[in-house]
């Protein structure tokens, strides 16, 4: 108990510092929100293995580490290293955040359609605090999630994206979070608010990159509001450094006839937890949640999905794939809730895992709560090893054991990679994967 109090104290003092700021961002509404969230975090505390939603993911190491809040400036940043992460060949609009703070010089946008806003969230809330009451924390609830509560209480900055009614943003908007670990462990609470009004269209790419080694903690929350008939594609490519902790919530809120997708790629990090929540709160919504996780070493990756069908004729597709090597551990929980009114729901969930080592493991489970009677709901999970027959077939054609193995692993992943629509992102993920595979360089041009 004593320990728990201390764990929370670290964040209380960070909160006190924010509270004491003479000119708080976001006005009184944000202060109220932060205060409530902090109080909720104090009540909840960090989850333990006894918590149903955290049964397989032990965050004690996160809770016990004395993270410092990152401070703006004072870091030597290698701009070239960052530029390499920005898809320089592509014409993406981008916001870059270094240790959680907006880096204007590294950010750029060009020819955004009229009325579209792509900006720092802190600056936006400063200019127009009304966004807080209208949208902030309206979608991602902090009541049952300690990390979301903590983020809500301590958020410093993140992206704000607003697309007005009927507007199509052709080029993806890239949000790049770069963390440079220092001597002492730091924590960053990125907070993104994405609002796509009626019949608008946009693509959002979040990248998390760690430059250098060291312990740090990213605790991110992204809220995406998808208006009636809007189409939003979201990607999160997580490549934190190997000692980093990454906890992130992606919250999709969908109105009538909207189409939303999120594709979560987990490559880096030590302990990683992704909460991906979608609320289909209008008739005829379409929601696709894809994921690919490739932990090795001692990495732990937990994907926790929650799809809530509130209205009739909703479609949801969840397709998560894992490739686990060495002592890596994977967790997949796919909760599907179909409310009483949500007749004609069509929900499908698959989680397929490939274990490359005897010491790798996966816990996977669906959780279906179906209160409507006229629904189609299917789920399937597999945990398997490389197909020995396929291995032999490839080798019998002269392909070496290493190359055959890499080929099969890559083939397993490529189904998920193929679903990444923006080509630069797709080839980036493909490239990273190939670099991890023995003789991967020879697999170029496979897909």
């Amino acid at each position: 108990m004593v320990e728990l109090v201390q764990e929370k104290d670290i964040y209380r003092s960070a909160f006190a510092r924010l509270e004491a700021e003479s000119n708080p961002v976001g006005g009184s509404a944000l202060i109220t929100l932060r205060t409530q969230a902090m109080a909720r975090f104090a009540e909840l505390g960090f989850p333990t293995l006894r918590h149903e939603d955290w049964r397989y993911t032990n965050v004690a190491r996160i809770a016990k580490t004395e993270f410092r809040s990152a401070v703006d400036c004072g870091v030597d940043l290698d701009e070239r290293a960052i530029v390499a992460e920005t898809f320089p060949e592509a014409q993406f609009h981008r916001l870059v955040f270094v240790n959680g703070f907006f880096a204007r010089d590294l950010s750029s946008q060009h020819g955004l359609p009229k009325g579209v806003q792509v900006a720092s969230l802190a600056e936006t809330l400063d200019d127009d605090p009304s966004w807080v009451e209208r949208h902030l924390a309206r979608y991602a609830s902090y009541q049952d999630h300690a990390f979301t509560a903590l983020n809500t209480a301590l958020m410093e900055d993140g992206a704000f994206v607003y697309v007005p009614k009927g507007v199509i943003v052709e080029q993806p908007i890239h949000l790049l979070y770069v963390t440079m670990p220092g001597v002492e462990p730091i924590v960053v609470h990125p907070r993104n608010l994405i609002i796509a009004d009626e019949a608008s269209q946009l693509t959002i790419i979040e990248s998390y990159v760690g430059l250098g080694e060291g312990v740090y903690f990213t605790n991110a929350v992204t809220e995406i509001s998808v208006g009636e008939g809007a189409v939003v594609d979201h990607y999160k490519v997580q490549r934190e450094s190997t000692q980093a902790y990454h906890v992130g919530t992606t919250q999709l809120y969908q109105r009538r006839s909207s189409t939303a997708s999120s594709h979560i790629i987990s490559i880096g990090g030590d302990i990683v937890r992704n909460d991906i929540n979608a609320v289909l709160d209008g008739e005829g919504c379409d929601c696709t949640l894809n994921g690919l996780y490739v932990p090795a070493g001692k990495q732990h990756v937990d994907n926790h999905l929650r799809v809530e069908h509130r209205k009739p004729h909703g479609n949801s597709r969840e397709h998560f794939k894992g490739i686990l090597d060495d002592n890596a551990r994977g967790v997949f929980t796919g909760r599907i809730i179909v409310h009483k009114d949500a007749q004609k729901t069509d929900a499908k969930q698959t989680n397929r895992n490939l274990l490359l080592s005897d010491s790798a493991s996966v816990d996977t489970k669906p959780q279906l709560e179906i209160l409507a009677d006229d629904v189609k709901c299917t789920h399937g999970a597999t945990i398997g090893q490389l197909d020995k027959d396929a291995m032999f077939y490839l080798r019998a054609r002269g392909i070496s054991a290493d190359a055959a193995r890499s080929l099969l692993v890559f083939a397993f992943a490529s189904e998920s990679i193929a679903k990444i629509k923006p080509q630069p992102v797709r080839s980036q993920v493909q490239q990273i994967l190939l670099e991890r595979l023995p003789q991967g360089d020879q697999l170029q041009g496979l897909s």
Partner: protein
């Protein structure tokens, strides 16, 4: 080219091959016939290097090298090819990519330059015509969703592309209609050369009307019970495997 001496093979503790001896010279076509379960595929898989089969006795030499000491991919690169009885489906791996990887592994081994995607395509298109394969199949995943006939023709196509020294065809004729059978046979016949040998495993005599073997062997219960020329296949067709088995026993008893 290939010498098999007194080969004994176990599968999961069961004795499947019980002392098989066979010599195949360059330029020859040998046919191995036998009832289901006699050990034909076991022989084919052991020669290709499948590790689920345990060789308990005997030896196999290929061009003077101890074949049993080589990894499956080393055997393939040395020139051994197996047309699988049941070709494996490999989702996510494109046929063109797979074959190019195989061809280049071979070329690299021989010290030849590797083929790029364009050169490779030109090279395989010619081979596809040989077995009347639809070029669209190159774009699909290896064997995935192929019909039975497409899979079998695909094996012959791969053989044509890889140009092995010694090819084993494990029941490539099974399940083929007469037209497909002729295509397969034509493919094999066009590849017959004085420096290449074939072991054609089949359950039925029918294929041997089109691929005329130099030697026919009858495998029953893990042993070659009878060997002869192409006329043995005809005789078997008339009299059945029991006859071959018994005639060898009678011969053994008489001596």
């Amino acid at each position: 080219m290939l010498q098999i001496r007194n080969l004994h093979v176990n599968v999961q503790g069961h004795k499947i091959l019980k002392g098989l001896t066979l010599t195949i010279n360059a330029g020859e076509v040998h046919s191995m016939m036998g009832p289901n379960g006699s050990g034909k595929s076991t022989l084919a898989q052991v020669l290709a290097g499948r590790d689920t089969y345990e060789v308990t006795e005997g030896e196999v030499f290929f061009e003077g090298r101890n074949l049993l000491e080589l990894e499956p991919d080393e055997r393939a690169r040395a020139g051994v090819f197996l047309a699988f009885q049941y070709p494996v489906e490999i989702p996510g791996v494109g046929t063109a990519y797979f074959l190019r990887a195989a061809v280049n592994a071979l070329r690299k081994h021989r010290g030849e330059e590797e083929l790029d995607a364009v050169d490779f395509l030109e090279f395989v298109k010619e081979k596809m015509r040989l077995v009347d394969m639809d070029e669209q199949l190159l774009k699909r995943s290896v064997n995935e969703g192929f019909s039975g006939g497409e899979k079998k023709r695909g094996e012959i196509f791969q053989m044509a592309v890889l140009e092995p020294k010694f090819a084993i065809l494990d029941e490539t004729d099974s399940g083929l209609d007469i037209d497909a059978l002729k295509i397969v046979a034509d493919g094999v016949n066009s590849m017959r050369r004085t420096d290449r040998a074939f072991l054609v495993i089949t359950h039925y005599q029918r294929l041997l009307n089109y691929i005329v073997p130099d030697f026919v062997h009858v495998l029953v219960d893990g042993r070659i019970v009878k060997s002869g020329g192409k006329e043995l296949a005809m005789e078997l067709e008339e009299r059945g495997y029991a006859w071959a088995d018994q005639s060898i026993r009678h011969a053994a008893a008489a001596s």
